[in-house]
């Protein structure tokens, strides 16, 4: 799909007036200064300026904006909180950035139906808190939950720290209200856990990165809040040992809520920020946790602690109370930004391999980093085989960026060789696009593009992302 051709500043006065008529003049931003903050997201090394930023307040306004954009061939990049790590919300082709943060209400939490309905821009934390107030759990738990929007989570199929036992965003999306690029308002799925009428468009739209439709409302499934939760920490000499401990935990028959690991560099960066008294000398930290009935949690934690000891953990401790467990999880969530303390540029990746190959992948990353002379810190959702190798560098250091890119190229190809993928939860966006064909193959990529055309005949919606 070729992008609609616009050059910066090409939105005419008539189009801008129409936009102002739809959402109100204060919600159409066009000056250089006003659009600048929307020219980037949380992805390093990507920036592009939109011609206008539009902030709608209702689904009808979204519909009118999209119909107008299709009529005039204006690219539209939907945006939530802009916390994505794949440059998915960078307006590479200019045009309109459509920001949904004004639509941020939690509309309903139903204990009887175990579901919640939220507007696109409600934050993940707001949804979780609203659910918790009813004694319910919204399980997906992405690291950026206090910032990220629910529709953004759906658009990227966000993962998080509970993936192993609870799955990811896609496992909880029951229904969507979306607006097609041509302006039609659709409702896919609904309030039902069972519904097989027609293609599963809800799942197709989940993870579509704003290339097929704009999500305006989300209905998610909830679970009863577990009665108890517990967390423990094990230290190892090497990250690969932590990977082996993960394999043993699963093999021993435990499917815990959380299995996260950090290497030595991450431990130190996190400790610099959170000051929890982590062992700065350890080669790796494995954070394990489970929830459920108090008995189940106690047994599960004991089995996991035993498994870690059997693999040769230097030390295993259980969090004394909920506050300590929460502090550990909060610290883990901030691993990425904490690593930013090490150098000005922090490039993070998201490869995922089958769990049994985790230790192998970890060793490969070490070798690749050494070969390319880059500083790499690795953390990740070990239980999901989902790794976040992070290369930090100073752009003053000559060809550091090229070395980082070469190293990641090799990391991606290695992951695919181990039957893994180039991205587990962050998405393709613009950042991972160069490797998508290698991952999907030409036939699948061609099908993906035909699907894109069916949804978006004018090719205006986030053009070029996700291989579209």
């Amino acid at each position: 799909m070729t992008a609609a051709a616009t050059t910066p500043g090409s939105l005419g006065t008539a189009v801008l007036d129409e936009l102002r008529g739809i959402v109100g003049a204060p919600h159409v931003l066009t000056t250089d200064g006003d659009v600048e903050p929307f020219s980037r997201d949380a992805t390093p090394l990507f920036r592009a300026k939109p011609d206008a930023v539009v902030l709608p307040a209702t689904t009808r306004e979204v519909s009118a904006v999209l119909a107008l954009a299709t009529r005039h061939g204006i690219p539209v990049t939907p945006r939530g909180a802009g916390s994505n790590l794949s440059a998915a919300t960078i307006p590479e082709h200019g045009g309109i950035v459509l920001v949904l943060t004004r639509m941020n209400r939690v509309l309903e939490v139903s204990g009887a139906e175990l579901l919640a309905v939220v507007e696109a821009g409600a934050t993940t934390a707001a949804l979780s808190d609203a659910a918790a107030a009813h004694g319910l759990l919204y399980a997906p738990d992405p690291g950026s939950r206090t910032v990220s929007t629910v529709a953004g989570n759906v658009a990227t199929c966000a993962g998080g720290l509970r993936g192993l036992k609870y799955g990811v965003t896609r496992n909880y999306v029951l229904g969507l209200e979306v607006v097609l690029p041509t302006g039609e308002i659709l409702r896919t799925g609904g309030r039902l856990w069972k519904d097989v009428a027609g293609y599963d468009l809800t799942r197709l739209l989940t993870g579509s990165e704003g290339t097929l439709a704009v999500i305006t409302e989300v209905t998610v499934g909830l679970l009863p809040l577990p009665a108890a939760a517990g967390t423990g920490v094990a230290y190892f000499d090497h990250l690969a040992d932590a990977g082996r401990a993960v394999a043993k935990i699963i093999a021993d028959g435990t499917l815990p809520a959380t299995l996260e690991f950090l290497d030595n560099r991450c431990i130190n960066a996190v400790e610099d920020f959170a000051r929890l008294g982590l062992d700065r000398d350890a080669g790796a930290l494995l954070l394990f946790g489970d929830d459920g009935s108090a008995d189940l949690v106690a047994g599960s934690l004991r089995r996991m602690a035993d498994a870690c000891s059997a693999i040769g953990a230097r030390d295993v401790t259980l969090a004394a109370d909920v506050a300590q467990a929460e502090a550990l999880l909060a610290a883990r969530r901030c691993s990425l930004p904490a690593l930013a303390r090490l150098a000005p540029i922090t490039m993070l990746e998201d490869v995922t391999v089958p769990r049994p190959r985790l230790a192998e992948m970890v060793d490969e990353i070490d070798r690749i980093a050494a070969r390319h002379d880059v500083v790499c810190a690795t953390f990740g959702h070990a239980g999901d085989g989902n790794l976040h190798p992070t290369i930090v560098f100073d752009p003053q250091d000559g060809d550091a960026q090229h070395r980082a890119e070469a190293a990641f190229d090799e990391v991606f190809r290695t992951a695919m060789r181990l039957d893994g993928t180039i991205t587990g939860e962050h998405g393709v966006g613009a950042a991972k696009r160069p490797w998508l064909a290698a991952r999907l193959g030409e036939d699948q990529l061609a099908l993906l593009r035909r699907i894109k055309t069916a949804f978006d005949p004018a090719g205006i919606l986030n053009p070029g992302k996700t291989g579209s």
Binding site: R47, L55, F273, A340, I345, Q396
Partner: protein, 391 residues
């Protein structure tokens, strides 16, 4: 795609042609990775849900200014430099350790030069230099009397010099008297105190603010005791954290070390119409001082002290800016009021007897706000509450 990133540009060597303008400290500006973890902590983002008025959005604007993509007369730059409360709530939540407060000062230094200075900010900057005027006003209204030149710091004598604070000595002179009542013989009040310069630092006058703080540091050698988080945060930044103690941390440290010098603190209860106590403990909330909490890391201490003399009630937004923000309530009264309203609603809903403050401008802001609403909750400085319990 534009991989030529500001993050890279901001960290590029100074001699690199036309990439940076030297407005900001390169290292500080490069530290942000735009993760957005600061957004929910920012009071102006919470009001607007608008990226432009978030810490991350403002840093993106600063980078555009630094690399010359935006000029300082850009209206968005002007507006956002001014709309920011400067509360620094984004700092403790930033895992990357971005020093936003310093960046904001550098931004305003540049942004508010010459004709770009908000006239009121300029007037305030000039006015605060004329400290004798404030001093006289304070003496007329009964602030603690200066005790002469600073006494030497001794283990069994004066441990710290009480700093009076320009606004506090004029508006709330009872605060410094309460401190002396709590710490007899432990602090002195050196005469000839000037302004600490905090106000200048937050209004585009960093250089002047540093000179003022250093001058005050010379006049009050040794440990400076402050009752205002705004002054304390600035002095600690310039003179070093070990030179400055805020009242609550000083009291806990000193009384912990010398329990014999701690006055008996009674539990404060509601008084009946005949003056007799009816037994119900007073319900007391706290408004944190932003620079005390986010700049000096002091927030547990005032809570502990209140809990010793009353029933402490944690307000949901206790740690969030009340909108006074130094001179903000004068420069941007409408926005200041919008920020304050959230706090006033919570205070009224909580049914407090007193709201305790630990900073002078918060005191002024909350007294005025609660008075407008005819609230029965009264505002006290922490020193005043404790002095009542000590009598």
């Amino acid at each position: 795609m534009t991989p030529a990133d500001d993050q890279a540009a901001a960290a590029a060597p100074a001699e690199a042609p036309a990439t940076t303008r030297g407005i900001f400290d390169k290292k500080l500006l490069a530290a942000c990775i735009s993760c957005g973890f600061c957004l929910p902590a920012c009071p102006t983002y919470r009001l607007t849900q608008d990226e432009r008025s978030s810490p991350r959005g403002r840093i993106t604007l600063m980078r555009a200014l630094e690399t010359g993509r935006l000029e300082e007369d850009d209206p968005t730059l002007q507006e956002q430099a001014s709309f920011c409360l400067g509360c620094r709530a984004c700092e403790p939540v930033c895992p990357a350790g971005v020093q936003y407060g310093s960046l904001l000062e550098q931004w305003r230094d540049h942004q508010w030069r010459g004709r770009h200075v908000p006239p009121l900010a300029l007037a305030l900057r000039a006015g605060m230099r004329v400290t004798p005027a404030f001093g006289v006003a304070g003496r007329l209204r009964g602030a603690a009397r200066p005790t002469g030149p600073a006494a030497p710091i001794e283990p069994d004598g004066v441990r710290a010099h009480l700093m009076l604070g320009c606004a506090e000595r004029a508006l709330y002179p009872q605060v410094s008297r309460s401190v002396l009542a709590l710490l007899p013989g432990v602090v002195d009040v050196p005469s000839g105190q000037g302004c600490c310069g905090a106000m200048h630092a937050h209004n585009g006058g960093s250089e002047q603010s540093r000179e003022l703080a250093e001058e005050l540091g010379r006049r009050l050698p040794g440990v400076i005791l402050t009752t205002a988080g705004g002054c304390g945060g600035h002095l600690a930044h310039v003179l070093g954290r070990d030179r400055v103690r805020e009242l609550s941390e000083f009291l806990l440290e000193y009384w912990g070390e010398r329990p014999d010098r701690m006055p008996a603190l009674r539990r404060l209860t509601v008084e009946g119409s005949d003056g007799s106590a009816d037994g119900r403990p007073l319900r007391v909330g706290l408004q944190d001082s932003c620079h005390l909490r986010n700049g000096m890391g002091v927030f547990a201490q005032p809570r502990e002290l209140i809990g010793r003399v009353a029933e402490y009630v944690e307000l949901p937004s206790a740690g969030s800016c009340c909108g006074s923000a130094g001179t903000y309530s004068l420069l941007r009264p409408d926005d200041s009021q919008r920020v304050l309203d959230v706090h006033l609603d919570e205070i009224e809903a909580a049914g407090l007897d007193h709201l305790v403050v630990v900073n002078v401008v918060c005191q002024r802001q909350l007294i005025a706000g609660l008075r407008r609403r005819r609230s029965t909750t009264t505002v006290l400085h922490l020193a005043e509450l404790l002095a009542r319990a000590a009598t």
